[in-house]
Structure formats: structure tokens, C-alpha cells
């Protein structure tokens, strides 16, 4: 029994008919052509299928498509603004925080969520935030570095801004 649903995908409204048992990951990939969420395990273990629903990362292989009716869904395709990489994406490139790249979209989304919630996370908090995303190539340290490096940069940037403010 198909049902029509409407949701926002990367800032655009999408209207689509889905079967009640259809999985969000499959609908995104196979029916809407959004390929950045990957299927690595199909049971919520690896985090490669992470997408954001209303600003929170979830594993789209465990979510029924119908559940996002009326919600905001974002994948990494929706992260760039004005064709510019986010500072986090830029930091991933600078720190070699990916190798094969398969897990990168999911991890970048998890880290984006973390930084939005907590712009100055500790290393432990960073590890915790990405602990649900498996990466077999990097040994994680370069990923952690990319995130913490960014918080250091933005902190010093903020400090500069403050200094400017106190100047007479």
C-alpha cells in the first residue's frame, strides 16, 4: 500500500510515494539518486549510511522512509553552501582524514552535528561523537585531528574577534 509523503531533502521539497516497509537509505539512494549515504552493513553497525534528520545524525538503514514524512533530511550533498566546502570538510582535506573515503560522508555529518551542539568539544567528546562510524583505513586519529584542529582554529579566531572588540 503506497503512501505519499513529503519531506525536505537538502533544502528542497520532495514528494514521493513509498511502500510502508521501504527503508530510508534505499529510497535516498535508489529512488532519489542521493548516493553519499553508503550501505556498509545494513544493520546499524557501521554508520556509513548516516544522514541528518532535523539536525541529528541517524543511521538511514534503520529508518523507514515514511518516518521522515514532514521532516528535514540532510546528506553531505546538502552541506556545502555557495559551492564552498565547510571548514570541517576543508579540515578533512588538510589533515588527510580519509583514505578510501567510503566512511567520510557519514563521519563528516556526525562531526558536523557535534560541532553544532558543542563548538569546543574535548578529544574524548570527539571520539564519542564518531564512535558509531567505522573507518578501517585511517586509524581515526587524523579524523579526530581534523575536528579538534578546527575547534582550535575557531577558538583562536573567536579570541581574535574578542580582542578586536575590546580595542578602543
Amino acid at each position: 500500500m503506497k503512501r505519499t509523503m513529503t519531506f525536505t531533502l537538502n533544502g528542497r521539497r520532495v514528494r514521493i510515494d513509498v511502500e510502508p516497509q521501504e527503508i530510508l537509505l534505499e529510497v535516498l539512494r535508489d529512488r532519489l539518486g542521493v548516493k553519499s549515504p553508503k550501505c556498509g552493513c545494513d544493520k546499524g553497525d557501521c554508520g556509513s549510511c548516516s544522514v541528518m534528520i532535523n539536525g541529528k545524525t541517524i543511521r538511514s538503514c534503520l529508518v523507514l522512509a515514511i518516518e521522515v514524512d514532514g521532516q528535514r533530511v540532510m546528506t553531505i550533498e546538502g552541506l556545502m553552501q555557495n559551492n564552498e566546502l565547510t571548514p570541517l570538510q576543508q579540515s578533512f582535506i588538510e589533515q588527510n582524514s580519509f583514505q578510501c573515503g567510503f566512511c567520510a560522508p557519514g563521519i563528516i555529518l556526525s562531526a558536523t552535528e557535534l560541532l553544532e551542539r558543542n563548538p569546543r568539544p574535548s578529544e574524548e567528546q570527539v571520539k564519542e561523537a564518531i564512535a558509531g562510524n567505522l573507518c578501517r583505513c585511517t586509524g581515526y586519529q587524523p579524523i579526530i585531528d581534523a575536528i579538534t584542529h578546527l575547534t582550535r582554529v575557531s577558538v583562536s579566531h573567536q579570541d581574535n574577534e574578542k580582542r578586536k572588540e575590546v580595542r578602543p
Partner: protein, 782 residues
């Protein structure tokens, strides 16, 4: 060579933007249109059984089903080094999960449903799940036809046994070597099987079009090898190499698992059954565990003879490899390990017996380290014990016996230049060797330090070749065409840096992409950590070829003295005419216009090829003396500081060091990436990864819930990466490979650190917290 502009620098990865934006396309991201069909595989539930009959009638009638095929449709065998594997099981199944039939349907759900309707009748045979059982007298033969299998000339199958290959090495005089020794002792070490666990599972799509052209898209480390194997295996269908094409997009992790040919043969074969429609075979995570390749288990008996002064006089290694149901690739792991099982030590008298043993477990095959991680666990544990028995410091013992340039290797060749001693010293310094560490605040914690040396040579056929094309574009940017695969290691960037160095065009203006065997030149495989060296040499030659063409053209068209020309900042310059500066972009496609309006030149295209012509795998089968099977060894040393909770056995790693001699780090940041990623992957194999099978040969944990791989919470607190650079004379800018090596020393450094902390020698991997806790308990009750 200090004036290198691009080589030796941390250039940013040229695949970075695609990978952080989701633009990078992997096999399952490619679109094949509405004609795409899906295959579901009918798998053997038995580890060892005869196939009595297969009834496909119900499945054929199911909705959405296009075709059902079985072994009868594809009575073909294949294999990389030995043709012992089958497209589909023929009269027998040899491991749980082996492909017996396939259902091709219009959607994956219909295929899955119909696959359950295929009825296969089996007669169960006793499964042989342990090497010891396979080697019993008069064993049940897993491959009764072994003696008739085609194989490379350097394999020695033992007819009427389960031994698919026996690599024998004999050097010097063992009797004398042990007689000379003041101390002789032996022990046995066990290493189980492991899984690669690339986050992307295997996938392949085949299309056999109406002109009888076969195209296969695959997640692959080996597009050309796959093309060759497909063409040869499917030759009875009238296919030749020119009819077969492999296209390989980005690979979501390889680690050896996507080398050679495993499940990809299914996409190739099935496509021929549904002419005109692409057909997709996508492995589930469970299939990824049990029907690709697994790292082989090994039981290693190590016997060493040493003098009081710490000189090793003799080493006898006997390695029994659990190679699984098919050994077409795995037998070469056994071979490579057999040739190098001394580790990086100078030992005058050596005997190595490396046995490739069939069992009814999933096929063994290549995994990062290619046998070296496996034997090194036992060897480096044994080296430590030897030093302890002699009352010598284990680092000093290793220094004393470290192999040096020119020393004779097991097979009679000579050791390449290496910075082994530098690596040993730097690793020892970084871990503060000799300085006891303790946790003063918590007496339940004990801290130990472990050390190990490692080495590895590329294991490849002596004619493993690499080639490259370079072509310029109108704006002076360029494309490098290679068929080395980007599996995460950064090959695209490294090749761009090598070409950039020769042609003075920055890597940001160089595009290197994943290959199509129709368009890109030959590459044997992206394995063996040989790409930076082999393909790097080919790319360098291709760039030099471009440069020579450029100089020829400038000399001919502009009347310049060719010998004075050089490249700088994307321009041709002259040593004798400081004002002459001809930008490449002005002529590399369109040439130079002469006064009369005619043109000279045309598109600049370079080609380069590299094959190690000095290498040979032929040698005396009884001793392995006489050939030169290994092109060179990359060496290094590693050390760890390990904190153990005496109550729970839980281990914490405050510090781990890997020092490796890469010859020349073309991109130091990427080398560091290999060190950190490799050692973490290795540490997981020793600390917790653990593949379990039941008494019927069924894998019990083919998923990430039960087969744990590291998360961000499980990494060492500090990984110290030390790059040593003693140039490889025949490497591009002195480089040699480093991809696999960083994983190899992980197990013995942990075992040696446990011994250092607790005085307990653990000889069977993995060394889990549970095992450590139990060992402490046993020790305490003694």
C-alpha cells in the same frame, strides 16, 4: 635531491574534494538504467558435501525471475596462481557459503525470494576444519583432482594429500648451525583467521551486450588481472581478451580483500546468461566475511640456535597454513612467507617449510601483510624469548643480528640498502626503551614495553608490470592514465607528485582517475605495496618521455639547442638564453605556428613502462636457491608501551611507535596515514578481532556486532610515526613501498609487552583481555 619541489612534500590529496563532498563514486553508486537485473546467490549450508541434484523449477517460475543458473551452466575453473576455484560449485561444495546456484531477477527482493526456492540435495562429507586433520595419514581429500590443476611453475602441489603447495628453503648446514649454538630451543605459535573488513563490501556488475562484449564494473584492486582471469575462465564461451573490459570506480577499502578475483567472476559469468541486461551482484556484510578471501591461519613451529654472544646460528621454521577451500591466491601467501620467514636477520643456516593446507573453511587469500604478520607473531615472540634466555636485552639482540646491505637472504639473493638499524634505534628511543614505566596511582595496573622488527618484500610474479600514459591538455594541465587503484592509500596523489616533479606542472593541475581497461594502460594489480615503486617508475618514465618530446619539439620548431633546455614552472627554459621562456600551455596540444602558417608538433603524450627484469621465481624446488623472487624488502621496527589491568586483563596503549624505511617518502603525510591506519588495524587483530567457526564450519560472527573492529574509542593514545629514508636505488626518487608493513609488527609488540609486564608468554592469538586475565589467574594460583 633536496631541491625537489613536489616529491617529499605534503601535497593535498587530489581526490580530497570528491571524497569529502560525497561526489566520489563507488561501485554501488553507479547507475545502470531500467534494464538492471539483480542476482541472489544460493549458498552451500555445508562445509563439505557432494551435490546430488539441484531442482530450479520452482524458482524459475517465481515472479520477477529472469534466469536461474547452476554449476552445470558454468563448468569452469579459475584462479590466479592455481586454477582450483570454480565459478559455481560443480559436484562438491567445500565451504559454508560457497556459491551453488544463482537467481537473476528484476529486483533484489524477487531474487532473494526465489533463491529460497532452489532445492539442492547434498550428501554430507566430513568437514576438515583443522590443519592437523587435513594432514593426518590417509586424509579425506578436499581436492582429489589436485595433481591435474594448472598452476604457476613455482608451486609444488603434493598429489594425494591436502597439501596444495610446499615451499622449501634450505640454506647452509642446519646440523652444524645447531651444533655451533650454545642454546637451542623451539616453540609453537598459533595465529587464527582474520577478515579485512573494508567498510565497502564487494560488488560487481556485468553486462554482456548483443555484440558479445563483456563489461564488468567492480570494486577492485586488480582490474587487469580480473580482465585476464575473466577472459581465460570464460574462453569456452568464445570470449577473448579484447572482448572483456573491466571498469573500476573508487574502492571503499581493499587491504588485499579486493585483489585477484573472488565474487567478481559471478558478475562476469551471470552477465553471459542474460545477454543485453546488466546484472548486479552485491555482497552483504555476511557474505563479505565468508565468501571473499580471509587471512589464513597458521601454526608455526620455530626452532632457533644461538651463541652466548647473541649470534643466531640457525633457524628452522615450519609453517602450517590453514588455506581454506581454494588456494588459487592463498598459496602464494604461503610461498611468500616461506621465502622470508627469517625476518630481517642475518642467519647463516636456515630451513623453512611452508605448507599450504586445504581445509573446509572459506578460501584464504591476500590480506595486508601477505603472510608476514602471521609468521612474525611467532618469530618475534621467539626472538624475545631467546634474548631473555641469553640474558640479553631484546633490542640489543635484534641489533646484533639485523640484516645489512649485501647480506645473503634465505634464497641466496642479497639484501638491498636499508635503514634497519636506524629504525631500531629510533623506535627504541621514542618508546624510551630501558626506562621502566609504572602507574603509581593504581597498583592494579602494570606496564610493559614490547619491541619487534619487521620486513616485507612485494610478493609478485617476476613479470608483474606497470605502465602509464600521460597526456597534456590545451591549458598545460595533464591527465595521467594508470591502472593502479586508489584504495585509499593516496596513489593518485603520489603519481601526480612524481609527474609534477619531472614536468614542473603542480599536482593541482594533474588529474589521475580510476581505470577502464579499454582506455588505461596495463597494471598487474594494486597489491604487494609495489605501486609507489613499480607504477611510480612507470609514471616517472612517462613524464620523462613527455619532457623529451617537448625538448625535441622546441629544438626542432624554434631552433633551440636541445641540450640547453630544461623545464621550470610549467615553461621550457634554456640555460644559455636566460630570456627564453616558453609556457607549456602554448604548444603542448596545438604545436608551434611557423612563419608560413604551418604548424610543428601536436599533442604531447608520454608513455612509461616498468617490469623488474632482474627478478626470477625459478629456483631449486628443494632449497629455493638460485632465483631472485623478491625485488627488495622494506624494513622497520616498532615498539609499544602497554598498560594491563591485572584484575580484568584490559589493555590500554599509551604509546606505540612505528619506524619504517620507505626509501623516500614521496608524500610524508600519506606515509604517516599508512603508519597510523596500519598499526591500528594490526593492533585489533592481536587485541580483539576473532573469527569463530562452529564444529560444522559455519562462521559464527560474520557481522560487526560480533566481529569487533576498532572504533574511535579503541585507538592508542599516541601513535608515533618515524620515517627513515635510505634510498632504494631502483625506486622513483628512491622510494619503496610502505602500505602493508605498518600492520605487520602489531601482534608481536603486544605479546612482548605482555611478557615484559607479567612474565607470561602468550603463544596463541588473539591476546584478548579475557585470555590475559585468565593467564594472570593461572599464574597467581601457581
Amino acid at each position: 635531491m633536496s631541491d625537489l619541489k613536489f616529491v617529499g612534500h605534503d601535497e593535498v590529496r587530489i581526490d580530497g574534494k570528491a571524497k569529502v563532498t560525497g561526489a566520489a563514486q563507488y561501485i554501488d553508486d553507479l547507475e545502470f538504467g531500467p534494464g538492471l537485473l539483480f542476482a541472489e546467490i544460493v549458498e552451500s549450508p555445508y562445509a563439505h558435501a557432494e551435490i546430488i541434484g539441484i531442482d530450479t523449477t520452482k524458482a524459475e517460475r517465481a515472479e520477477g525471475v529472469v534466469k536461474v543458473v547452476t554449476g552445470k551452466d558454468f563448468p569452469y575453473s579459475f584462479g590466479l596462481y592455481m586454477q582450483d576455484r570454480f565459478v559455481f560449485a560443480q559436484d562438491r561444495v567445500r565451504f559454508v557459503g560457497e556459491q551453488v546456484a544463482a537467481v537473476i531477477a528484476r529486483d533484489p527482493v524477487a531474487a532473494k525470494r526465489a533463491a529460497r526456492l532452489v532445492k539442492v540435495r547434498y550428501k554430507e562429507l566430513t568437514p576438515i576444519l583443522h590443519v592437523e586433520d587435513a594432514l593426518k595419514e590417509k586424509p579425506l581429500l578436499i581436492h582429489p583432482n589436485l595433481k591435474n590443476y594448472k598452476h604457476v611453475p613455482w608451486f609444488y602441489p603434493q598429489a594425494e594429500t591436502n597439501i596444495a603447495h610446499w615451499r622449501k628453503v634450505k640454506k647452509g648446514n642446519m646440523e652444524e648451525g645447531f651444533k655451533e649454538a650454545d642454546l637451542v630451543f623451539e616453540d609453537t605459535y598459533t595465529v587464527p583467521r582474520y577478515a579485512h573488513c573494508a567498510i565497502e563490501t564487494h560488488g560487481a556488475v556485468g553486462l554482456f551486450d548483443h555484440s558479445r562484449r563483456l563489461t564488468v564494473w567492480a570494486a577492485s584492486q586488480s582490474p587487469f588481472t580480473q580482465r585476464n582471469v575473466f577472459a581465460e575462465a570464460l574462453a569456452p564461451l568464445g570470449l577473448s581478451h579484447q572482448d572483456v573490459r573491466v571498469i573500476a570506480p573508487c574502492v571503499g577499502g581493499g587491504f588485499g580483500g579486493k585483489a585477484g578475483v573472488s565474487m567478481e567472476i559471478l558478475a562476469a559469468a551471470l552477465a553471459t546468461a542474460v545477454k543485453g541486461n546488466p546484472v548486479k551482484v552485491n555482497w552483504s556484510r555476511a557474505q563479505e566475511f565468508y565468501n571473499t578471501y580471509q587471512r589464513q591461519g597458521v601454526i608455526g613451529k620455530t626452532k632457533i640456535g644461538v651463541k652466548k654472544d647473541g649470534t643466531i646460528t640457525a633457524l628452522h621454521q615450519t609453517l602450517y597454513w590453514d588455506a581454506g577451500a581454494y588456494v588459487e591466491y592463498g598459496a602464494n601467501v604461503v610461498n611468500a612467507a616461506g621465502l622470508s620467514a627469517t625476518g630481517p636477520y642475518r642467519i647463516p643456516n636456515v630451513k623453512i617449510d611452508s605448507f599450504c593446507v586445504y581445509t573446509n573453511l572459506p578460501p584464504g587469500g591476500p590480506y595486508r601483510g601477505f603472510g608476514y604478520s602471521e609468521f612474525l607473531f611467532g618469530l618475534e615472540s621467539h626472538i624475545n624469548e631467546t634474548a631473555k634466555k641469553l640474558g640479553m636485552d631484546p633490542v640489543e639482540f635484534r641489533r646484533r643480528n639485523a640484516i645489512k646491505e649485501g647480506d645473503t637472504q634465505t634464497y641466496g639473493g642479497h639484501m638491498n640498502p636499508s635503514g634497519l638499524l636506524q629504525c631500531i634505534d629510533k623506535a627504541a628511543e621514542a618508546i624510551e626503551w630501558g626506562k621502566k614505566a609504572e602507574n603509581k596511582s593504581d597498583p592494579t595496573k602494570v606496564i610493559g614495553k614490547g619491541f619487534a622488527c619487521f620486513w616485507k618484500a612485494p610478493a609478485m610474479p617476476p613479470n608483474a608490470a606497470s605502465s602509464a600514459f600521460i597526456k597534456f591538455n590545451e591549458d598545460g594541465s595533464l591527465n595521467i592514465l594508470i591502472s593502479a587503484m586508489e584504495i585509499g592509500q593516496g596513489v593518485l596523489t603520489v603519481m601526480a607528485q612524481i609527474a609534477a616533479e619531472v614536468l614542473t606542472v603542480p599536482p593541482s593541475k594533474i588529474r589521475v582517475e580510476t581505470p577502464d581497461t579499454d582506455r588505461n594502460p596495463y597494471e598487474w594489480q594494486t597489491v604487494a605495496s609495489h605501486i609507489t615503486w613499480g607504477t611510480g617508475n612507470a609514471v616517472k618514465k612517462a613524464a620523462e618521455d613527455c619532457r623529451e618530446q617537448i625538448f625535441d619539439l622546441v629544438a626542432r620548431a624554434l631552433g633551440k639547442n636541445r641540450d640547453d633546455l630544461y623545464l621550470e614552472n610549467e615553461c621550457v627554459c634554456s640555460r644559455t638564453e636566460p630570456d627564453f621562456k616558453q609556457p607549456l600551455r602554448d604548444f603542448v596540444i596545438n604545436g608551434f605556428m611557423m612563419k608560413d602558417g604551418t604548424f610543428r608538433g601536436g599533442p604531447i603524450m608520454g608513455r612509461g613502462m616498468f617490469m623488474p627484469e632482474f627478478s626470477s621465481a625459478l629456483s631449486d624446488p628443494e632449497t629455493s636457491q638460485g632465483g631472485k623472487p623478491n625485488v627488495h624488502y622494506t624494513v622497520g621496527a616498532a615498539a609499544v608501551e602497554l598498560e594491563i589491568d591485572r584484575e580484568t586483563g584490559r589493555m590500554r596503549i599509551p604509546r606505540v611507535v612505528v619506524a619504517v624505511d620507505v626509501g623516500k617518502a614521496i608524500n610524508p603525510g600519506l606515509v604517516k596515514g599508512q603508519v597510523v591506519g596500519g598499526i591500528v588495524q594490526g593492533l585489533a587483530t592481536v587485541l580483539y578481532e576473532d573469527m569463530r567457526f562452529d564444529e560444522k564450519g559455519r562462521m559464527l560472527n560474520p557481522n560487526f556486532t560480533d566481529y569487533k573492529i576498532p572504533t574511535a574509542m579503541d585507538i592508542p593514545e599516541q601513535v608515533i610515526s618515524i620515517i627513515v629514508e635510505v634510498a632504494q636505488p631502483d625506486g622513483p626518487y628512491g622510494a619503496r613501498g610502505v602500505g602493508e608493513h605498518t600492520m605487520i609488527p602489531a601482534a608481536p609488540i603486544i605479546a612482548n609487552a605482555i611478557e615484559d609486564a607479567l612474565g607470561i608468554r602468550m603463544k596463541s592469538m588473539p591476546l584478548t583481555a579475557e585470555k590475559v586475565a585468565l593467564a594472570i589467574k593461572t599464574q597467581d594460583t601457581k
